[in-house]
Symmetry: C2
Subunit: 342 residues, 2 copies
């Protein structure tokens, strides 16, 4: 179908191997007769030759591509990290294949399997569950892998926010506004990211209710309904992820805001929060740091171009970034009102 090396060989009266060398761009190309090399390159151009990457990968065991599996591509934070990771990888000559597990471990397994068998050189993943077996089962044991925003026992190549620090910061902020009773929406407590956050929250507050569910907006909507029926109203709702806050706000109307609704303490940046009339304290990460961290973490794990050197699986240190708190104007007004009442 597409033109191949042998097509060019026939057209230029040379052999397949010569053509391969001429187009490889490596040192071997320089050892060629300048004339034949140019003839071959011209023919390649002419025939619109493009190498078959499957064949090349099959032969060389390298694909120059990295896989990224995210749990929810719809999350703007995740999307931005993906975007930035791609930009960084490009600088290193790698391209990125993004796959979306959609918070579903079956789809995750499928993607793991596919990417691995397509011969990606490395993987960056925010796993749906922290089950190491699920990962190992679907991957060749030697595939370099960086875990994003989770911590998994036995895997040190990790890039994440400092969940304990940011959670502490967020709790302190809310307490400064006099908050004592909170309700919580969280993703699965089997994930370290949520477990750690919740632990810190419990240390700081009287937790009236904890609604746990998959990291989708519906969980946030459900939580809001549950919290509305509590005998004592929470002063703030803590959301262990943007999706939950979005779910809550989806079913919040402007009219609701008249009745002094609880503030939202959100892990992760809320888009356009500075304009939203909902009081929001957000614990934000520098996504640029995270993305860059993933790439810098991954690169040294890839087998060196020198085939002689054994793949150096030097253990990486986890890369943990501190976050900070961003309040929106509505929150500041809300906090002022609370303090005035006291």
């Amino acid at each position: 179908m597409s033109t191949t090396l042998s097509d060019i060989a026939r057209a230029t009266q040379t052999s397949v191997s010569t053509v391969s060398r001429a187009l490889s761009g490596s040192v071997a190309a320089n050892r060629l007769n300048l004339d034949t090399r140019q003839r071959i390159q011209a023919a390649a151009q002419e025939l619109g030759y493009r190498p078959n990457l499957n064949a090349r990968t099959l032969r060389t065991q390298r694909s120059n591509s990295i896989g990224l599996i995210v749990n929810d591509i719809t999350d703007p934070l995740v999307a931005r990290i993906g975007n930035l990771i791609e930009q960084h990888l490009l600088l290193h000559g790698y391209s990125l294949m993004i796959c979306n597990s959609n918070e579903d471990s079956e789809q995750e397994a499928r993607h793991l399997w596919q990417l691995d068998q397509r011969g990606i050189d490395g993987l960056i993943i925010a796993p749906v569950s922290s089950d190491v077996e699920q990962l190992r089962q679907n991957l060749s044991a030697t595939l370099p892998m960086v875990i994003l925003n989770r911590s998994i026992a036995g895997l040190d190549a990790t890039v994440a926010g400092d969940h304990e620090q940011t959670a502490t910061l967020l709790c302190q902020t809310l307490r400064q506004a006099g908050v004592q009773r909170v309700a919580v929406v969280s993703g699965s407590s089997r994930l370290s990211i949520h477990r750690i956050r919740m632990q810190v929250v419990r240390q700081n507050f009287d937790v009236l209710a904890l609604h746990e569910g998959p990291a989708i907006r519906k969980t946030g909507r459900d939580a809001r309904a549950v919290f509305a029926r509590l005998p004592i109203a929470p002063e703030a709702i803590i959301c262990s992820g943007l999706v939950f806050a979005n779910g809550i706000m989806q079913v919040t109307t402007v009219a609701d805001l008249q009745n002094n609704p609880p503030a939202l303490g959100v892990f992760d940046w809320v888009p356009m929060q500075h304009l939203l009339p909902v009081p929001i304290a957000a614990a934000v990460q520098d996504v640029y740091e995270l993305a860059e961290g993933c790439v810098e973490q991954l690169m040294p794990m890839l087998s060196e171009p020198v085939p002689g050197a054994a793949a150096q699986r030097r253990p990486q240190e986890p890369l943990i970034f501190a976050g900070q708190i961003k309040l929106n104007p509505a929150y500041e007004a809300w906090a002022d009102r609370r303090l005035a009442v006291q």
Copy 2:
């Protein structure tokens, strides 16, 4: 490295082809001795065999995967479409590789090239430019392709919103609020999507200023600065895409909203718009329709499983979906105020 068919053959004292048949799951598997088949399957399980997809694709010329190239994965609308497309493809047994061109035609070309040479069976793309050559140059001519949200001469497999209809609807809405003078932020007028919208806008309004630029938030920010210096203030700003509205709102403070700022007429849904204090009239598409449309459009273009049948490149009709207008409470209040003044 990984276990291969021949590993299993050796372990079970059979031949590679027998193993291949036993694991293929096709009719050929049934013609095997039940005993040997089970022995082979057991061994495969034992050794953790997973087929090498590169080799398989190289051999069969089919990968059971579809590529999706989007211009901006950060756009929530785009991300949601990607997500939905993936779900739909799964039902048909295909998996999806998402690539982000990031509004950059070089990256787009790179992705086109890569996906094609990796042997994807079909492509869905929202091209950066409507240059057919750019596409054709990097693709094998026979690759089934669906164009998303653009219209390109000569390519009929298209899925898009009805840009003229939605633009007309949006203009009518604004005019009902007495708007006569607008400013416009738009992506490249070389893209039909923006060109059509702008054309309709011009027919309906006195366009004070037109700011054209790449579809990134910065363009929106810049536009806002430019519009602020106009001798006559626009009554509304029309944004040919969510990114522009986001850019404008990024640099809008709550204080700004006291000074009766222009309303925003936005193509595409604005997340959380019902809570935003900015008057917004949004022309929204049903993303589910769009995603489903892409898949339904693409499926019949893929070569039939029967190898005898020539790939049926039956020309598809463009699939155009009507949109509708969603006003937020702030807009309704804004419109009421305007009409009251009259």
